[in-house]
Structure formats: structure tokens, C-alpha cells
Amino acid sequence: MDIPDARKRWSHRINTITIGAGRDAGGSRTSTVTVGGETTLPFYRFEGEMPHAPVVALEVWDIAPPDWPDAAREPFADVLDDPGKWAQKCVAYGAPLVCLRLKGCDPLIADRTPDEAARAARRVVESVGVPLIIWGCGKEDKDNEVFPVVAEAVRGENCLLATFTEGNYKTLTALGTAYDHKLVAESPVDINIAKQVNILALDAGFPLENIVIFPSTGALGYGIEYVYSIMERTRIAGLQGDKAMALPILCDIASQAWSVKEAKAGVDEVPEWGDPRARGPMWEAATAYVYLMAGADVLVMRHPQAARAVQDVVKKLMVPPGQGGPA
């Protein structure tokens, strides 16, 4: 009996987006990163195209992180107070993209000024040739002060600025347009708001082609199934022609995976869970694997070992069908 052909043909393509600009494009990057362009679900390359592999961005903070567990600190222990050297180390660990997190600007952490944030951004830009994600502190009022200075300081570099929400899309879309940056649209694990923020940005004159969706991320064991289903539905809607949903997706693995006790608890706290130096990166990598399957195009990660593991899996899954890879 013939096995029926169950392959599906989707009618539309997910947008393709490039981060980073070289000298010829008005920036100073020595490499760029392109994601998106899928015409099928993640890694279903027997039925459609996945022209660009998902990429891992390793994070860099503008201040030495006050509360990271040792397992996360150790790979960067000697560079945590210098964003430039930290970024270089990320590149040495194989990251094609660096995510500068302006945590120090948070009024409750170090309340750094917009100028200090801009100096940190310049320092990273001048230290590495890879493209940048620049992530605000997450407090909307402060981000609205910080981003205008930072976006100008790295103008033309075609960074990915994260994030805008229903509340602050006007500032970020204006900056993205003025200084040639791409933007990350954030929504609180809510597909309706995910669509709405994109529509708001579009109405503000910012093209969907320059937006990456950040649907919020949950760590393994902490509502990951729910985020997964939202991401999958987003991607399916995009492949079916919903243009406000046909955008690449970003996941913040780093901050979520490392905020749960399974990743960060010390061996003295829960001896039966084993060495956190192995457990933490494993928790982060396992979280990332799930999001790869859900449609992530960009994964922000913390531990170089976890990042490497995820990059290896992506490489295996991207082997063309019929050349020894899966399916």
C-alpha cells in the first residue's frame, strides 16, 4: 500500500531579516547575521525551505552581574567588568551575534545614565566585528531615556534593539527609522498582543520587515509548553499569510533558564541534583532545544557550553535532506 504524501505546502514565507551593517552599508561590522525566510515549520525541510539556520547570541552585560551563579560566571570571570573584552570572549566562544544587555540602567540595579549606556555600546561595537542586539533594562520609562542616546551612538550599525511594547513603541520605532536599526517587538505570552504590537509599529510607519517577534520566554519546567504553543500558532499564521505574524522570532533563553532553581541552585543546596557546572548549561541548552522546535530564529544565551551544544544541534538539523541528516 502506498503511504500517502502528507507533506504540506504553505502559501507564504516568513520575512527575512539581516542584523549588522558592514562598511559598504554604512556600518563597521565585519560580519552580518540573516535569519528567517522559512516556508515551512522549523526544520521541516522535506516540505519547504529553511534558508537560514537559527542563530545563537551570547549575552554581555554593561555591569558585572551581581547575582549570577558561579556556573554562569566562570566562563567570563576575568572580563565581567569590561563589556568590550566580554564581547570578544563571546566571539571567541563562537557566537555570531552578541546581545548587550543594559541591565545597569535599571534604577533598582545601578541606575546608569544614558551616556554610560552609550559608552558601553560603543565599547562593544569597537571591540568586536559581529552584529549586536542591544537590550534595554526593561523599565519602560528608563528605556525611553536610554535608547535615544544609545541608538544614536551606534547609528548605522543596523543593530537589533530590544524591546518595544504596546507602551513604548513610538520611541523605539522612531529611533529605528532615524538611526537604521531593527527592532524586537515584545508581548507577554499573548498572541493577540503579539499581533497588536506589530500593527502599532506598522501604523507608526515602521515596516514589518524590520521587526523580530519576542513572545516572551519561559524556562524549561516553567510554562514552556504554553509559550511553545503561542510560538507555533504565530508561525503557522505567518505561513498562512498573516503578514503581522510572518516575522522571525527571538527567544531570551539566558535570563529565563538561569532564573530557575534547577539551573542555579548550588550543590550544597540540593546535593542530589549534581554539579551545577554541568546542570546549569544543560538546563539552558534543553530550554533552547524546545524553542528551536517551536520556531525560534534567534536565541539569546548565557553559557558558552550551552550555546555550543545548541549550535551543534542546529548544524545537524540543517544538513540537507538525503545527505545523512534527519529526514
Partner: protein, 273 residues
């Protein structure tokens, strides 16, 4: 929903005159207005004004110069259809239309195959308009089978159950609705189901209300395309809202805006790599 703009039709006086005078102005104006309103296809019809395929070529070219929206080449004459398809130069197209008549099927389906076009089939035959559900289903099945047999994908086929004016043939309205539901059973993956929406209101008084009430009911039963007045904002809003209620679109506060965004691109086929 796939919105097919009805306005570039020689049946409208300004378009008829434009074709006779070779005045691109009104044609391009309607092309732009319908595209901006979110039309997925623009129907293009030289109607009773002309039987000359060169007029179809002129009309298609005038539209192409104005907007990139895919075109629905509308004629009962296969040679006029061919002329219009050739003028499209490989661009995406809908052929409007064939009937279940054997002679027509034999001449029109090969055009769809040759030009990689979608095909709209009217569920009527050489005996004329269908009086009941059974004849509509029979004709629709015949067209669908012939199209798929010739190599068209199910989603390249649009079936039209033949909507008639409620003022003169009220009893046909529920039959059309029932036919729509029957058509949905033909195929999985699904085919498209389309109506000439303005037919229902012919010479009626409450024209707009009739149209949007019918379309909401038909959408619930499986309609997913219509040749229609895409500039009727309340009609578009009713369509968008019905599609939300049916959970075919993801709700968002600005769903009317999102609907227009989607409708504007729904006819673009993805260029296979």
C-alpha cells in the same frame, strides 16, 4: 478571505467608455483604489463593450502599470482569456471563468495549466443556471475533478455556486448557502469557494445590508472568496469580524487594520524557490 475587486468591468459606464476611448485614467484610478482597500485580485472584464482580445490586453496592461495586485482575467471567451493571460507575462492570475459545460472545460482548463493560473468555475452548465443544490454540486464536482485531473492543485480551484438576486429568486439564497457547505466536503486540502457577491442585491433597496448579511452567513458555511465591492468599508469590516468569530484570524484590537494588511497580500502566490 480573498477579496476580488469587481470594479474594472466594462459593465460600469466609466470603464466601458475608457475601453472605447483607450483612456487609462479611470482604469488605473479604480485599480489603485481597490488595491489600497485590500483587494487580493482585481477582476478585469471587457464585457459587452468588446469581443476584441486586444482590448483585454490593453486593459490588463493599464492595470499592471498602476498596481502589482494579481489579476482575475474575466471573460466568457477563451481567446480573450488567453490574450489577457499572455499580457500578464507570467504574473499571478485567476481565470474567471469556466462552467461545467464540456466544451468550455476543454478550452479553459488547458489555459490554467499553461499559465499556472488559478481557475474559477461557475456551477452552471449548458442548461443554464442551476435550479437546486444537486445540480450545483454536480457541476461543481465535474469542474473540480476535471481541473485536478489536468494537474491543478485543489487550492488553485475556485468554485462559484451561482448567487442570484434575492429580489427575484429569493428561494435560491438558502440553496446557495447549502451548496457552499457541500463544496467544502470536496477536498482536503480545501479548494476556494467564491461568489459574485453583488448579484444578491441586484435592484434591491437595502443593497449594502443584504450584501454584508449574506457574506457573513456564507463565510460561516465555508465561503472564502468573493468578487465584490471592496471599497464598501462596512462590508469589509463585516468580513473581518466574521473571520475573527470563526477563529480564522488571530484577534487583535486593531483587527480591521490587520485584515486589510492580510487581504492586500492574500493573492500573492509564493514564488517557489
Amino acid at each position: 478571505m480573498i477579496l476580488i475587486g469587481e470594479r474594472i468591468n466594462a459593465g460600469f459606464k466609466d470603464i466601458g467608455r475608457a475601453i472605447r476611448d483607450k483612456d487609462k485614467g479611470p482604469v488605473q484610478e479604480w485599480a489603485r483604489r481597490q488595491a489600497a482597500a485590500g483587494a487580493s485580485y482585481l477582476d478585469v472584464n471587457i464585457g459587452a463593450v468588446s469581443k476584441d482580445p486586444r482590448d483585454m490586453v490593453w486593459l490588463v496592461q493599464a492595470v499592471l502599470e498602476a498596481v502589482p495586485t494579481p489579476i482575475s482575467v474575466d471573460s466568457t471567451q477563451p481567446e480573450v482569456l488567453r490574450a489577457g493571460l499572455e499580457a500578464l507575462d507570467g504574473g499571478p492570475a485567476l481565470i474567471n471563468s469556466t462552467t461545467a459545460d464540456d466544451g468550455r472545460l476543454a478550452r479553459v482548463i488547458p489555459l490554467a495549466v499553461e499559465f499556472h493560473a488559478s481557475l474559477l468555475g461557475l456551477a452552471m452548465d449548458e442548461r443554464g443556471s442551476p435550479p437546486d443544490v444537486a445540480r450545483r454540486v454536480e457541476n461543481g464536482a465535474k469542474i473540480f475533478a476535471a481541473a485536478v485531473e489536468a494537474g491543478l492543485a485543489p487550492d488553485q480551484v475556485f468554485l462559484d455556486p451561482i448567487l442570484m438576486p434575492i429580489r427575484f429568486m429569493q428561494d435560491q439564497c438558502p440553496k446557495v448557502l447549502e451548496t457552499i457547505r457541500e463544496f467544502t466536503l470536496f477536498s482536503d486540502p480545501p479548494l476556494h469557494i467564491s461568489v459574485g457577491l453583488s448579484n444578491i442585491r441586484s435592484e434591491a433597496k437595502e443593497r449594502k445590508l443584504l450584501t454584508r448579511t449574506f457574506v457573513v452567513m456564507a463565510l460561516a458555511l465555508g465561503l472564502d472568496a468573493a468578487i465584490m465591492d471592496v471599497l464598501d468599508e462596512e462590508l469589509r469590516a463585516a468580513v473581518a469580524t466574521a473571520e475573527l468569530v470563526l477563529n480564522r484570524e488571530i484577534y487583535t484590537d486593531d483587527y480591521l487594520r490587520a485584515f486589510r494588511l492580510k487581504a492586500g497580500g492574500a493573492g500573492e502566490p509564493r514564488r517557489a524557490g
